[in-house]
Subunit: 422 residues, 2 copies
C-alpha cells in the first residue's frame, strides 16, 4: 500500500462535512428558506460555529475587521507564508446550503486531517470564511475578500440596506469598528496562493460524469441594457411590410446572440434574461422592447471581441428594421485567470485520486476575483446536481463531497509554492 492509497483510505471526510453543511444551513433569517445575510444575528451565529470548528482543527482563529472568520494552522516553523483556502458563508435569499460553505467546511476538515496526523508542512495553511460574497444586503459583492485583498472601497460604508441602515452603522452594532476595515487586509508576501473549492453551479461536471474539475478562469462579464423603439400599431390593420415591430426586432437580436455564442468554442456564453414588450397587448404590435444582455468569457479579450460583435449585429438589425436603438453597458468585470502552476497541482491531485482531469471555466463570480490582487488563484469545482444553485434544490452527493475533500487534502499535502513549482 503506497502513501496515496493510505490518504484515500483515511476515514471518509464526506459525511462529516455534510453534517456541518447541514448545521450551517440551519442558521437562517427565516426557518422556511435559507437566507444568511452580512452583519446579522445569523452571521454572528455562523461565525461562532466556524470559529469553533477551526479551533477544533488545531487552528488559531478570529473574526477580522469586516466579519470574516480567519483560521491559521502553522507550518514547520511559526510565521511562514500561507496557502490560503476559503470561500464565503453568506448566502443569497432562498439559497442552497452548499454555495460557499462547502469550501470553508472542506478546508477546515482537511486541516483537521493534517492535525489528526500531526503533520506540519513547510508552509502555513489558512482558512478564511468570507463574510460577504453575494452582496445581498448592500448590493455590493465580495466585501469580505476585498477587505482581505486590501481593495475594500471605504465609500461602500455609506451604502444602505433595504431598511436604510448604513454599512457603517451595521458594522458598529456588530461590534466592528468601521474605521478599521483596513486592518483585515493581508499582503502579497503573506500568501503563497489562494485556493478555493466551490460547487460548480453549472451542469458541466454532471454532463461529463465527473465529481470534480479544475477551474481555468473566473469569466469576466459584460452586461448591457438594450431598448428598441419602433412603432406600435393595430395587430390587424398594419401589413407585415409596413411594420416597425420592436419585438420582432428583439427576437432577431436574441437569435443572433444565441447563434454567435453557440458557435464559439472558447466558453463564451450570452444570455437575454429579461425582456419587456410595450404596450404588451395581444392585438397591438409592440412599439418598444427593453431587454438585457449578459455576456461572459474566460478571457477578457475574447469577451470584449464578442461584445463588439454582438453590438455590431444588434445595430445592424436595428438599422435594417428602422428601429431606434439604445444600448448601454450597465456592468463590466474583468476575467480572473487561474494560475497555471496551481491548475497543474490541482490536476495532479485529481488524477492521483483516480479521476479524469477536466478543465472548465467558472461562469459565476467567486472570492478569487478579489483575491487575485494579492495572490495567484486556483479553484476546484465539485459537481452539483443538475447544475442548480441559488435555489433550495442545490445539492451535492456525499460521495462528491468526499471526492472534493480528498482532492483538496492531496493538493495541500503535495503543495509546492510557485518558486519551487516552476
Amino acid at each position: 500500500m503506497n502513501a496515496e492509497a493510505a490518504v484515500s483510505q483515511a476515514p471518509s471526510l464526506g459525511e462529516a462535512i455534510v453534517a456541518r453543511i447541514n448545521e450551517l444551513g440551519a442558521i437562517s433569517e427565516t426557518p422556511d428558506h435559507l437566507a444568511r445575510i452580512f452583519i446579522t444575528r445569523e452571521h454572528r451565529v455562523a461565525a461562532d460555529l466556524i470559529l469553533g470548528w477551526m479551533r477544533e482543527a488545531g487552528m488559531r482563529a478570529h473574526v477580522d475587521a469586516i466579519g470574516n472568520v480567519c483560521g491559521r494552522y502553522e507550518g514547520l516553523e511559526f510565521g511562514l507564508p500561507c496557502l490560503m483556502l476559503g470561500s464565503h458563508y453568506d448566502t443569497v435569499r432562498d439559497a442552497g446550503k452548499w454555495d460557499g460553505p462547502l469550501g470553508i467546511v472542506t478546508a477546515i476538515s482537511c486541516v483537521a486531517e493534517l492535525n489528526r496526523r500531526g503533520l506540519r508542512l513547510p508552509f502555513a495553511v489558512e482558512v478564511v470564511g468570507f463574510a460577504d460574497e453575494e452582496g445581498v444586503r448592500f448590493a455590493s459583492t465580495l466585501l469580505g475578500s476585498r477587505a482581505v485583498a486590501g481593495t475594500f472601497d471605504e465609500s461602500a460604508l455609506g451604502k444602505t440596506d433595504r431598511d436604510g441602515v448604513t454599512m457603517r452603522k451595521a458594522l458598529a452594532s456588530f461590534g466592528l469598528d468601521p474605521h478599521h476595515v483596513g486592518r483585515a487586509a493581508r499582503t502579497r508576501g503573506e500568501l503563497l496562493a489562494y485556493v478555493e473549492l466551490h460547487i460548480e453551479q453549472g451542469p458541466v461536471l454532471e454532463d461529463q460524469n465527473l465529481p470534480v474539475g479544475v477551474v481555468t478562469a473566473i469569466s469576466g462579464a459584460t452586461r448591457l441594457a438594450a431598448r428598441l423603439t419602433g412603432m406600435a400599431g393595430h395587430a390587424g390593420t398594419v401589413p407585415m411590410k409596413q411594420r416597425k415591430d420592436a419585438l420582432a426586432g428583439a427576437a432577431e437580436c436574441i437569435g443572433a446572440i444565441e447563434q454567435f455564442c453557440r458557435t464559439d468554442e472558447g466558453g463564451l456564453v450570452g444570455t437575454v434574461g429579461y425582456i419587456h414588450a410595450s404596450p404588451g397587448a395581444t392585438n397591438v404590435i409592440p412599439g418598444q422592447v427593453s431587454f438585457t444582455i449578459d455576456i461572459r468569457a474566460p478571457g477578457d479579450a475574447h469577451r470584449r471581441r464578442a461584445v463588439t460583435d454582438v453590438v455590431r449585429q444588434i445595430e445592424s438589425i436595428a438599422r435594417r428594421r428602422d428601429l431606434q436603438l439604445q444600448l448601454d453597458v450597465t456592468h463590466e468585470n474583468r476575467s480572473v485567470p487561474c494560475a497555471d502552476w496551481l491548475k497543474s497541482q490541482i490536476a495532479d491531485a485529481i488524477a492521483s485520486e483516480g479521476y479524469r482531469v477536466l478543465e472548465l471555466p467558472s461562469g459565476a463570480g467567486h472570492d478569487g476575483m478579489a483575491m487575485i490582487d494579492i495572490a495567484d488563484v486556483g479553484m476546484i469545482f465539485v459537481r452539483c446536481r443538475g447544475g442548480i444553485s441559488h435555489h433550495p434544490d442545490e445539492h451535492v452527493d456525499v460521495a462528491d463531497v468526499d471526492a472534493g475533500a480528498r482532492v483538496l487534502l492531496r493538493m495541500i499535502d503535495n503543495f509546492r509554492p510557485r518558486d519551487m513549482a516552476q
Copy 2:
C-alpha cells in the same frame, strides 16, 4: 359639365362633418381623454345629438331596444326595403374621435344632401348609430349590431361591468327593457345591403397616397396563448449547448411567425404582442416564457392554413430545443367577405370621384361582422394619419372626410340592389 362633376361641386360636406365629429368627440366620461361607453350618461347625450341630426336630415329617428340610434329616409314609396348605412358611436377609453362616428355622421350628411336636393330613391336609406361595437363596458363586442342582426346573446345580459352592474340593470336604468332587446332585430327582407364607411385604422391608404379604398373583407382572427418551458439556469455557468433557454426558443418562434406572414401575399398578418420571460433576471437563463399570437387573414381557409403552419413550426422549434410547449387557441372569429356586387359599386363611385381604386382587407373588426347575418356587407375605408387609431392622435384630414362623403353619396345615388346589379 356632366352630372358627376356637378355632384363633386356640391357644397363641401367635409367641413360640416368634421364640425359634428368634434361635437360628438366632446361628449366624454372625462374631459381629458375621450371615453364614451355603452349605456352611460354620455351614451344618452350622444344619442340625442345624433337623433337631432337625423331628423334635421329628413329622417324619422328613434333609439331602439339596445340603445342604437336608427334613422330612416323613405324612398319613392313608403316602406321600401332599405340600403342600411352605419357605424358605432361608442369608443374605447382614451380614444380618437373618428373611429365609428365618421361613418354615422357621413351617412347622415349624405341623406341630408339627398333631402336638400328633394331626391327620393327607389329604396329607403337607413342610418344606424350602433350603441356598442368596442365592447369596453361588458367585455362583449358588437352588442348593437348583433341586436339588429337578431343574434344578440341574451345570456350577455347577466354580464357585469367593472363596478359589478349587470347589463340587464344598466339597460333598465337607461330606460330600456332588457326583456325586449329582441325587438331591435331586423329581417333580411328589410335590407338590400349594409354599407359602412370607417377610418382605415391602418397605414395602407396613406402609403398608397389615396383618400379612400374598397374593403375586400373583414379579416377573421385566431388568437393563441403559447407557453414554452425549458430550464432556468445561471447565465454564467451553463454552456450554450447545454441550455434549454425558453426565451431563445420564443425568439425563434417570433421570427418564424414574422417570416411566414411576411412571405404571404394575401393580407395575412401575425403578431406577438405580449411576452413574459420568467424568472426575468439579467443573470438567469429564462426557464419559462409565455407569449400571445394573433393571426388574421381576409379568408378563413387562408387563416386556418396559416395557423396550422405556424403551430407546426412552433411545435417543431419546441421539439428541436427540448422545450415543453403549451399552445391554446384563446379566441377565434370567422372572416366576413364584402359582397362582390357592393365592392363593385363602391369601386365605381371611387373611380367616378377621380381616385384610383385600391382594394384592401380590414384587419380590425367592424359591425359588418354581425350584419353579415342579415345582409350583404360593403365597406369604404377613409385614410387616417399614420394609420393611428384607438389613440387621441387619431386624425383624418378634412379633404379626406370630404372625399369619403362624396364617394358614399355617389354610391347611394347610383345604388342598384343586388338583383338589379347582377
